[in-house]
Symmetry: C2
Subunit: 148 residues, 2 copies
Amino acid sequence: MPFRELITAELAKLLGALSHHDRLLILEELYQGEREVKALQKKLGISHSRVSQHLSLLRTHKVVTERRQGRHVFYRLIDPEISQWVMSALRFIEFRLQHTDEILSAVEDARNLWLSPQAPKKNEPAPRKLIYIPGRQGESEPPTQNEA
Amino acid sequence: MPFRELITAELAKLLGALSHHDRLLILEELYQGEREVKALQKKLGISHSRVSQHLSLLRTHKVVTERRQGRHVFYRLIDPEISQWVMSALRFIEFRLQHTDEILSAVEDARNLWLSPQAPKKNEPAPRKLIYIPGRQGESEPPTQNEA
DNA sequence: GCATAATGTTAAAATATATTAATATCATCA
DNA sequence: TGATGATATTAATATATTTTAACATTATGC
């Protein structure tokens, strides 16, 4: 497996590009549809320069792309399913968050927003494939697994 | 959505914990089964201290857990499906890697290793749910999406 | 038991990367 | 051209990573 290292490195870079609070919010926002920098800036409450830097990084990592229209630049996800993919990781963190009802319901909200088939509120582009499989029916076996 | 920030921050932390070449290799390795530090050290070709520190970080983020036996410490994935989840992101980077046949086949190898139902070679713990959906049949619509 | 080797963990220091905020530059359109 | 919006650059600060070394624990041989 000669290029396994390369693949792992690429994956690590992608994960690194996404491992930022603001950038995840941008992902969430862009999952709803195209947005210009100004809109993202308002939504996130950070400077436009910072938004631009985040977008630049996401562009570098081929997560987003843009479309120019006059002086407006609209950003969008290259593959909107990356958003679903990220959110499908909710299952790996929810046990950390399952403390208050408020947080639990926020997790539900997030899941509905990002993972339900009717996710994009208005004028949705197309029905999306579900990646997340709710529930943990496969929880029977203790993960002792095998030896090498 | 009051705790959305919290959820996004948690997700970002998880992604951050995984966004390292060595740690992804550890994930891959542990997907095969329990491993002691020494084995990981040999496999990755890095210092045992570094392995231990990586494992410590993964432990902090509840990705792995350990079992002690004498002077050996065996690590395993808390939820082996996290490994599949990470590898299902291959689709988001493969267009960057699709250059040589060698790389392409390495991607295939990686996919087979991590995502095929019979993934763990020997004495597999249980049939695993597939998260990755091969192919891109939903590629018809240009992602113009909707406006807010 | 005692010394020694094997296995892991931890801490501290050095290095490398990432983030931020401020500023500068560039492009577009009225 | 002037106003606006977007991007690039920079420098400072903060985080992460790596290395080295010290430490703890368990097994083994005498």
